[in-house]
Structures are given as structure tokens and as C-alpha cells.
């Protein structure tokens, strides 16, 4: 029962030198990017043009130049048809506090054109899928932030769209709520068969959830690549080892041994535990094996080896040398 429309080689979103200029700022600057089915992350600092892009893709704001298609429909002329097949979860609060989640989502389902009975059934289903049970009959005003985010997600999914735009869905959530929301986003694609465009200013959380990540900065495309490409070039490992009698400075011994095998290592200067932490770029599975072998050969104890979460700024830091490559890579 996998939907026929979601064939893998179809383009869900395509933009071609899409620009949006306001009198004082350029929100999007000749953005050309193709997005396929699956979960796609749209990363950028605040003001990078993410929300502007979503508005244009919903057909609500005309582009200054260039063109864009969503599900094969031109945003300039087929806005209403796009909005019938697409769901949107805004970044900000958008829920009236004095109605229950059920009433609210039923109303929104009808606004999407679902007949009354279907609206009720789909609402019950959708709220259950996003994890709202008994509380759905209580007024929304009494919900926690996590529950409100789930209601916002439910109203975007209730009409069974082919694609959803989720604008900063993890905003304001605690770490557990964040993980739950990311898991839910993953399921929207794997279990529900709905493609997802999710924005965030945290690259780390999108790396875990998305199949593909698009990075924008100042309205320009910085890079667009599948998450596997991304992690290969951006995953940094932090390693901390014990010292032994044989190697009084274990950290240095590991660094030299890794150097000998041609792996560049940085001191974790500026980090907590500087001097004891080594940073290296993981090229793939073999790097983990190599580190394990080197440390075992030296007879040291491995205190920790962890992936460091990247903040978006780190991508921007090396963006200049990568930009040419990325643009070639994207689209």
C-alpha cells in the first residue's frame, strides 16, 4: 500500500535561480536546488531565508525572479493545488488555547477540504500517531510545549499530504522531547510515506534524521548533499585515552601513532579537558577501526570516543573552500 506518487526518482521540490528581494534585504539569492522524496533538512542560521523559501514554495509569496516547482506544480500558478497536497507546521505558536486538540484538528482538516466524517476519523488517527491520547479532549491551553508541537504536527498531517514543511519543529523542546520529535519526523517518511522538508539551525540534529541536507546562508545555497556525504566530511571524533607506565603521555603517543598512519589529529584546545582530548576527522567506518587498533596496540585504555555535534557555524567556517565543490555537488 505504498503510495504510487512517491516513486524514488521523482523530484519533490525543484527551484531554479529562485530569488526573493525585499526593499532592504535579499532573502533568497539565485537558489537552485532539487529535493527528492524522503526527509530533507534545510539548515541555516536565523535569517538565512528558510522561512521565505517555505512561503514561496506554498505559493503564498511571489518570487522576485526564478521559478520553483513543488510536486511538479509551478508555485506561481498552482498555489492552491500545492496547498491541497502539502502540510505546513509553522515555527511560532499557532494554537488557540480554549479549544481541545480534537476540535482544532477537525476544523483544520475541514479547512483542507476533508468531509466531516473523514475529518473526524483522520483527526483521531493522526493525533494517535503523533502520540496524543486522552489529553486530546482537553483544552490546548493546558498542554506542555511538547504536546503543543505534536498538535501543530497533527494539523499539518491530518489531510494526508504528500509533503510536509516543518519549520523548526524542535524549537523549545527539552532533549528528550527533541529526540521524540526527531523520531516522529523520521516515521512520517518511513511509516506514513510522506516526504518531509524540515528546517533547523542545528545541523547535528538534522544529520541524524534526514536523508539529505541542504544548507543555506544569506539566501544562497551553501551545499546540498545526502547525509552520508555530509557525515563523511563533517564528523569529528573526540578521543580521550588513559596514560600507562609505558606511555606516560598516552594522548601524545596516540597522536604520533595516528600521524604515522597518515591521519591528521588536532589538539582539542579550547575544549574542556584540553591536552587530553584529540580531535580527528572520521572518514568512515575504517577510521573507527583504525583508532581502536592504534589504541589497543599501544596498550592504552580508551576513556571515550564520541562524535562531536556540529553546530552550523562550523560548516560556515570552512564554507569558502567547500562552496565551489558544494555547488557542483548540489542540484
Amino acid at each position: 500500500m505504498v503510495r504510487v506518487t512517491n516513486v524514488w526518482d521523482v523530484t519533490v521540490i525543484a527551484t531554479e535561480s529562485l530569488s526573493k528581494r525585499f526593499p532592504r534585504v535579499t532573502a533568497l539569492d539565485r537558489l537552485s536546488v532539487d529535493v527528492g522524496p524522503g526527509v530533507t533538512g534545510l539548515v541555516g542560521a536565523n535569517g538565512a531565508g528558510k522561512s521565505t523559501l517555505i512561503k514561496i514554495l506554498l505559493g503564498l509569496s511571489p518570487a522576485t525572479e526564478g521559478r520553483a516547482e513543488v510536486l511538479g506544480l509551478d508555485v506561481a500558478t498552482k498555489g492552491a493545488a500545492i496547498r491541497e497536497r502539502v502540510g505546513y507546521m509553522p515555527e511560532h505558536d499557532c494554537l488557540p488555547p480554549d479549544v481541545s486538540a480534537t476540535e482544532f484538528v477537525v476544523h483544520m482538516a475541514r479547512m483542507s477540504g476533508l468531509p466531516p466524517t473523514a475529518a473526524r476519523e483522520r483527526t483521531a488517527d493522526t493525533l494517535r500517531h503523533v502520540g496524543l491520547y486522552e489529553e486530546r479532549y482537553r483544552p490546548i491551553g493546558g498542554y506542555s510545549t511538547g504536546m503543543k508541537q505534536r498538535v501543530k504536527l497533527a494539523q499539518a498531517l491530518v489531510h494526508d499530504p504528500q509533503l510536509v514543511f516543518l519549520d523548526e519543529p524542535t524549537n523549545g523542546l527539552d532533549p528528550v522531547g527533541r529526540d521524540e520529535m526527531l523520531g516522529l519526523i523520521r516515521r512520517i517518511h518511513t511509516d506514513f510515506g510522506i516526504s518531509v522538508l524540515v528546517t533547523s539551525h542545528l545541523l547535528g540534529e538534522l544529520e541524524r534524521t534526514c536523508d539529505h541536507v541542504v544548507v543555506v546562508d544569506g539566501g544562497k545555497l551553501l551545499r546540498s548533499s545526502s547525509t552520508t556525504d555530509f557525515t563523511q566530511t563533517t564528523t569529528t571524533l573526540a578521543i580521550e585515552v588513559t596514560d600507562t607506565d609505558e606511555h606516560p603521555d598516552g594522548t601524545r603517543a596516540v597522536r604520533e601513532a595516528l600521524h604515522a598512519r597518515g591521519v591528521g589529529v588536532e589538539d582539542g584546545s579550547g575544549l574542556p579537558g584540553a591536552g587530553h582530548v584529540l580531535l580527528l576527522t572520521a572518514q568512515g567506518e575504517e577510521t573507527y577501526d583504525l583508532v581502536r587498533d592504534v589504541i589497543a596496540d599501544l596498550g592504552l585504555g580508551l576513556v571515550r570516543m564520541e562524535q562531536r555535534r556540529h553546530h552550523i557555524s562550523e560548516v560556515f567556517k570552512n564554507s569558502d573552500e567547500e562552496r565551489k565543490e558544494a555547488v557542483g555537488h548540489g542540484s
Binding site: 499557532c94 494554537l95 479547512m111 506514513f192
Partner: protein
């Protein structure tokens, strides 16, 4: 569906008696589009104007005002029947003018309820990320409040009419008066709904909205009737009084119906506008209704997403 099965398998361990997630079902049924969405929004807003589908607390005021609006009509009917009078104590067209305070209060309480909430809780973007357009939203909200006002103002007229027939008053006279009354309150409903919504749509705060609507309706009426009284006392005659009447919504309606709907004017001296002035009254009323609609559309184009 492979995904569903793999999701269920861990849960079917022996001895585990959980209710299973039956998995996601896609929707292949009809999608009824803009017209249906607009109608749904209209009926939801209209019901909301009387607190239906909302909390008990929000039913109190509109229902109370509805009762207050109808009780005098019921009393008049009772009097007319009991005293076997030849005519109702009050014309159909005059009823809304006499009860204008109740109508103003209703507009002031329900116009902000209808639009300020969506603005304040930023629900508006959720509407416009769906197939409906700005104009659909504005039309649904405008029509809903105008209908609610029509129910409020036409119900007592219906009470009067039924009572008049029960009292065996002249059928054709009463039917004509009733019809004129309905036309008049229909115009009044559109005009008041438009003014109320424009004011309410500017502020996301419900309290400000209520105060602003009351202020606009009562201050304009107060100013106009004072000026008319002064004009009357100075003997300026019907013309000046009639022109002054253009400047408040309720006197505008009064003027229209005394010029064209056979009503006796509530203006000082009882002299309403003549036919020529009456045309200006009608044009201004219709112009105001159209302008309110235009302003609302402009406002919501801006609010958008």
C-alpha cells in the same frame, strides 16, 4: 505493508497483551476544496457567534443578548393581543433603532471573538497554508457575523409578526411592514458586521477590540444625535438634520429606511431625509459595506503567513 509489520513484530511477543498500533492509513477519499472549506469556516464562525461549539462561558453573553433582544417584542405582542389593539405599539422598522444598544453590544463582543482570536494566537497562517485564499476567509467571516446579526435583529421582528397575526391585525399591512423591517435589518447587519470586523481585525487583543467597537458605534451616534438636536433647536430644519445623520451607522440605517422603507424617522422633529438625500444614504451604506470588505481583504493580505 512492510513498515507496519516490522513495527508490530516486537510487540507480539508471547504474554504481551498490548493494544497494537494499527499503522498509518492514507486517505484516498474526496477533497472538497475551497468552496467547501469556505462554507465550513462560515458555519463554524456563525455557530461560534452564539457560543455553539465553544465553552459554556462564551455562550452566556450572546444568548443573553438574544433573549434581551426578543423579550420586548414578546411583551409588545402580549399587550397587543390582550388589549385588542389595532396596531403594534412599535413599527417593525423602528425596533432595531430602539434596541441599538443591544445590537452594538453584540457586535462589540462577537466581532473580536470572530477575528481577533485567529490573529492573537497566530492561527491565520494555518488557514492560508491551505487551499482557501484571503478572500475566502474574509467572505466567510463577514457573512458569518452578518448572518449572526441578522438572526439577532430579525428574530424579534418574527416574534412581532407572528404575534400580530395572532392578534388578527391586518394581514397585508403587517406583511408589508415585516418585509420592510427585514430589508432594513439585513442592511443593518451587513453594515454593522463590516464596521465591527474592520475594527476588530486591526487589534489582536480582544479587549481593545470590544472597547473600540463600542466607542465607534456609541460615540458616533452620540455626536450625531447631539448635533441633530442642536440643529433642531436652532430651527435649521430637516435638511441639516438629515445631512448630519450620515455620520453614524445607526442614523444611516434610520435615514435609508425612512426614505425608502416607509419608516417614520427617529430624527429630531421626526423628519427623515427626502428621496434625493435618501439616495446618498443608500449609496453611503453600500459604499461603507464594500469599503469594509476591501479593507479586510487588504488587512489579511498583509497578515498572511
Amino acid at each position: 505493508m512492510a513498515a507496519e509489520q516490522s513495527m508490530q513484530t516486537p510487540a507480539t511477543a508471547p504474554g504481551d497483551t498490548r493494544i497494537h498500533n494499527i499503522g498509518y492509513r492514507s486517505y484516498d477519499g474526496p477533497r472538497l476544496g475551497r468552496g467547501y472549506a469556505r462554507l465550513s469556516l462560515y458555519s463554524q464562525s456563525l455557530r461560534g457567534s452564539y457560543g455553539l461549539g465553544r465553552s459554556v462561558k462564551s455562550k452566556v453573553l450572546p444568548m443573553l443578548l438574544f433573549v434581551v433582544m426578543c423579550v420586548p417584542a414578546a411583551i409588545m405582542v402580549a399587550v397587543a393581543v390582550a388589549t385588542k389593539a389595532n396596531d403594534l405599539p412599535l413599527d417593525y422598522t423602528r425596533y432595531a433603532i430602539v434596541m441599538q444598544a443591544v445590537i452594538s453590544l453584540y457586535v462589540a463582543s462577537q466581532a473580536p471573538q470572530s477575528v481577533s482570536r485567529d490573529l492573537r494566537f497566530k492561527t491565520v497562517p494555518l488557514y492560508f497554508s491551505r487551499p482557501i485564499e484571503t478572500t475566502d476567509y474574509v467572505r466567510a467571516k463577514f457573512a458569518a457575523l452578518a448572518s449572526a446579526l441578522f438572526i439577532l435583529t430579525a428574530a424579534p421582528l418574527l416574534v412581532l409578526y407572528i404575534g400580530a397575526l395572532l392578534a388578527k391585525l391586518d394581514f397585508s399591512d403587517q406583511t408589508k411592514g415585516f418585509a420592510q423591517g427585514l430589508v432594513s435589518v439585513a442592511l443593518l447587519s451587513l453594515l454593522f458586521a463590516g464596521i465591527g470586523l474592520v475594527i476588530a481585525s486591526v487589534t489582536p487583543r480582544r479587549g481593545f477590540g470590544i472597547a473600540a467597537v463600542i466607542a465607534v458605534l456609541t460615540i458616533s451616534y452620540g455626536a450625531v444625535s447631539t448635533l441633530q438636536a442642536i440643529a433642531d433647536a436652532q430651527g435649521s430644519g430637516g435638511d441639516a438634520i438629515a445631512w448630519i445623520g450620515l455620520f453614524s451607522p445607526i442614523t444611516l440605517i434610520d435615514g435609508v429606511q425612512s426614505a425608502f422603507l416607509g419608516a417614520s424617522s427617529a430624527f429630531p422633529g421626526g423628519v427623515g431625509p427626502g428621496n434625493a438625500e435618501g439616495v446618498v444614504y443608500v449609496l453611503l451604506s453600500l459604499g461603507l459595506i464594500a469599503a469594509s470588505y476591501g479593507l479586510l481583504v487588504r488587512r489579511y493580505k498583509k497578515v498572511g503567513l
